[in-house]
Symmetry: C3
Subunit: 218 residues, 3 copies
């Protein structure tokens, strides 16, 4: 889970845990589809859950990482993977991609907002802070897909995902410009991102790509 400055309520902590869980489960799902062993399942789940925040912290040169400061998360990850392998091999219980769409959208909103705020607090330029927020929320999934030898789905599935976070996080810049309190900016940014993601899924809107007959010649 990307380290977050969102710390103003128990509700919000619960949402973070739910969202981190959704990210980890997306990693386990891909690991299962690729027939990885238990090591692969744990690593891919961990990358999906913690990879985006870790990459952001490397780029911003922030230490310690969230999962170093709160090492209990690593134990929780191992326990989660063990639990998933035990219960899901029994096949009484099935999880689908649809089931994690909403927790995943919450994670997209929360982690992109908190990542952007962290960069803003470090005096990064607006566009850099927005990119850092998007990286926080999105690059866990990118690392997950690269390790599983797929082109990252966020770059090719044409359903708006990173774009929602890219738009939503500008609310934080707006809040800063208006001297609004931080919690308001964070809430507005996360809510905007989640709403846009929901609208995109509901409407089936597709992002543009290139023509089937690409004009680029090899």
């Amino acid at each position: 889970m990307p380290h977050t400055v969102l710390n103003f309520s128990v509700l919000q902590t619960l949402v973070e845990i739910l969202a981190t869980l959704a990210f980890a489960i997306s990693g386990m799902m891909e690991a299962a589809r690729k027939r990885l062993d238990v090591v692969g399942v744990c690593v891919v789940a961990g990358m999906a859950a913690f990879g985006g925040g870790t990459l952001r912290d490397i780029l911003l040169d922030r230490r310690p990482f969230f999962w170093v400061q709160h090492a209990a998360w690593l134990w929780a990850l191992l326990a989660l993977c063990a639990l998933a392998m035990l219960t899901l091999r029994a096949r009484h219980f099935e999880l689908t991609e649809r089931a994690v769409l909403w927790p995943d959208a919450l994670g997209l909103g929360l982690f992109s907002a908190s990542g952007t705020q962290i960069a803003l607090d470090m005096q990064m330029p607006a566009i850099v802070a927005v990119f850092m927020g998007v990286i926080t929320a999105v690059f866990g999934g990118v690392l997950r897909d690269i390790v599983c030898n797929e082109i990252p789905s966020v770059f090719r599935d044409h359903r708006p995902y990173a774009v929602c976070a890219f738009i939503g996080t500008w609310m934080l810049e707006l809040a800063q410009a208006l001297n609004a309190p931080k919690w308001l900016g964070l809430t507005a940014a996360a809510a905007t991102t989640v709403t846009l993601r929901g609208l995109a899924l509901w409407s089936g809107y597709r992002l543009p790509g290139w023509d089937p007959d690409s004009p680029w010649k090899k």
Copy 2:
């Protein structure tokens, strides 16, 4: 574009912009071939253009990155991708790999020279500085290919590319040993690299690889 110490003329700035453009376009071309959506196009173009310099800065622990200090480059990248998608989908205009070979060779020369100089200025050993220069120029393309789920072309196309930069950047070590001015070393290194790359393309020289029947057994 990798951060550069080459700052001694307007001509040189123009060459840098041209070369960065060539790197970004190589990313867009690969993204188009892989049918990525607009998010993928922007990210892959950005990785191809800025990835090598960013990796070098992480390895050397240098901050801020070029694209943090000059955040306008990120806006330029977004504008470039938008422009490319608008104009190229219309298909009145075609770009080929051949068209970017020369700007790309200029980028190879410039960025490997500037990357090496940066490492030398940090008192790195000669061989480390040379590797840092090659990484600056080459790893943008490596990241581009990894994200697009290809073995990086620089590792397998047998046409000298990284090797030209590896040889050319030693001119900077020579210049330093002779106490020659920096601009002279940088120019000599870049010119050597570009010339070698040009000769390699012109002659069709192929790097050695392994025998078709590899002697390594699984």
Copy 3:
């Protein structure tokens, strides 16, 4: 070769060189199977040999890297690759995966122990230190496989590898808790890992994975 604190004997230095060689050879073998050119062979061999320790140092924010402080290793790598390409193309000599299994197991034990000790010396929590040790020993191979466009074998071949290091490195935590001298903890950790790896290979034990009919639905 990951930077190591194991410095208490000539024997141990010899084991380190042997193990680093095994890691580099595993990179060359994969590069050969993928028909890479000489640049690819050198880079993949270098990633396999030095990648894990470099990633650990980036995560721990340690500088200089081992291969910056002892740049002669880079020359040795280049010489090794040149030598391998010259001799192995002649095909009088064959190397198999089996031939490097034991040096590789020694590397797993040594580098995971030394990586964990480095993290403990930086006051990292126990679980973080263990992960850093495993990353040191394992992620060179992960980078090698990612660059060669394969799912990392350590995540899917079901033969215990990372798991052996994960268990063995806890000996260092035990030694620390008992105030035992460092060399004893390092030796015990490395020996435990190597023994477990040996037992795993000898017994043919397979790690659990998911059911062939995965319960995860797309």
